[in-house]
């Protein structure tokens, strides 16, 4: 991997690279376990006990219990894996997206209907962000 991560300049974005994948391996594999209905039931019946079966860091564990998706991503979570927690909770992808952007689901849906978050001003940390929720 190149030492300099050019993509770290993109605002509000965490690219799931080697370093993050290694940090998030157990977190993401825990999410993967929620693909099975019986595991979803066990998790819902006792989240703390279920998480005891996975080698999560304290920060990862706290982020899962708090459903803090940005914190899960900061600790190596990948959104396609994390969305399985959302599915277990009966939440849509758009609900998760609104949560991560710090807006209500209604505001987020309205932004999408209006054409989405504009790229202009949102492509580099060197420029100020624009659009609902900021970046």
């Amino acid at each position: 991997m190149p030492a300099e991560k050019d993509y770290d300049d993109v605002p509000g974005t965490t690219v799931f690279d080697a370093e993050r994948s290694r940090a998030g391996y157990h977190l993401n594999q825990f999410c993967m376990s929620l693909m099975k209905a019986e595991n979803r039931e066990r998790f819902k019946a006792g989240e703390e006990a279920y998480l005891d079966g996975w080698k999560l860091t304290p920060a990862q564990r706290a982020a899962v219990l708090a459903r803090d998706y940005n914190a899960m991503i900061a600790n190596g979570g990948n959104i396609y894996f994390l969305s399985k927690i959302g599915a277990t909770d009966g939440k849509s992808f758009q609900y998760l997206a609104a949560l991560m952007t710090g807006t209500t689901q209604e505001e987020y849906a309205a932004m999408m209907l209006a054409g989405g978050r504009p790229a202009a001003g949102n492509t580099s940390k060197k420029a100020p962000p624009t659009g609902a929720g900021g970046a």
């Binding site: 993509y7 993109v10 974005t13 799931f16 391996y25 396609y80 999408m112 989405g116």
Partner: protein, 284 residues
């Protein structure tokens, strides 16, 4: 011999599948989206492809972080719709084309594209949503399918150039298959979208339009676009668009556009769709 008669680009948003499966496709929100595929459905009924090579990505469904193949080709007799966490989509089982799939596998490996061969592969919305968009909701899919899963989840995905060249190798493989099959290749995913973090919801119509234009006007230039440009301009998940370049590479050096469709939004995503012909295509 077998030949590639068309290439199709198409987004594969899961919410589209959910809308169809829950009979919400007539909701005002979804009507314009599905209407955009009416023309393709009618065209497809005329084309009657025998086999579709369907380039898509798995979304942490069949591939977890245990194994992450960059290119994985499905050689099975059939592929089950996967349970992605809320039960499998109620769509037909996907019938494979193992004779052609194994031929392609052998051909591209000897052509120096070292793919992974999958004899069992449950397919998620990345594959089944484009099927639904092109064929609606039939009792059985009217075409056999060779799934070609590309890693775009773990960074880095293959480069655009690698994808274009892989498409060229697939074309050589198909054209060396003795049976007279009508083969299409689809590239799916995209267009601009970001599903994670504070920048979720990014849409870039200008980028998407240029991408669609350059599939015919400048595919080689397009294939040289670095990953950072996709991530910046089209969102962290917009990088799925590299998969369209496999489709494009399989059409030969020149291709012409038959038609396209573009719509914002489907949930978090810009939906793009294009139908291309190889320039050397001749009617029977």
């Amino acid at each position: 011999m077998a030949r590639i008669t068309a290439g199709i680009g198409c987004s594969h948003v899961p919410a589209i599948g959910a809308a169809l499966d829950n009979a919400r496709d007539t909701d005002p929100y979804w009507v314009p989206l599905f209407a955009g595929f009416d023309r393709t459905k009618a065209w497809m009924a005329q084309e009657k492809p025998d086999v579709v090579i369907l380039v898509y990505n798995d979304h942490a469904t069949s591939f977890s972080l245990e194994m992450i193949p960059t290119f994985a080709l499905g050689t099975a007799e059939e592929f089950e719709p996967a349970d992605e966490g809320w039960g499998p989509r109620r769509v037909p089982v996907v019938q494979g084309a193992p004779d052609l799939a194994w031929h392609i596998a052998q051909s591209v490996i000897l052509d120096e594209f070292d793919i992974t061969i999958c004899n069992k592969l449950d397919v998620d919305h990345g594959l089944t949503v484009p099927m639904s968009l092109m064929f609606g909701q039939p009792e059985a899919w009217p075409v056999r399918v060779i799934p070609l899963a590309v890693n775009v989840v773990q960074y880095p995905p293959p480069t655009g150039n690698r994808c274009l060249n892989f498409g060229r190798a697939i074309r050589r493989a198909v054209e060396s298959f003795p049976e007279g099959l009508n083969v299409q290749i689809w590239g799916t995913g995209g267009m601009s979208h970001q599903l994670q973090g504070p920048r979720a919801g990014l849409i870039n119509r200008e980028f998407d339009t240029a991408f669609l234009d350059r599939l015919t006007s400048d595919p080689i230039g397009l294939s040289r676009m670095p990953h950072i440009d996709y991530i910046r301009q089209a969102g962290s998940e917009g990088i799925e668009l590299v998969m369209w370049l496999i489709m494009r590479g399989a059409l030969g050096e020149e291709a012409r556009e038959l038609f396209r469709f573009y719509h914002v939004p489907a949930s978090n995503t810009a939906v793009g769709h294009i139908v291309l012909r190889p320039a050397d295509f001749v009617e029977d």
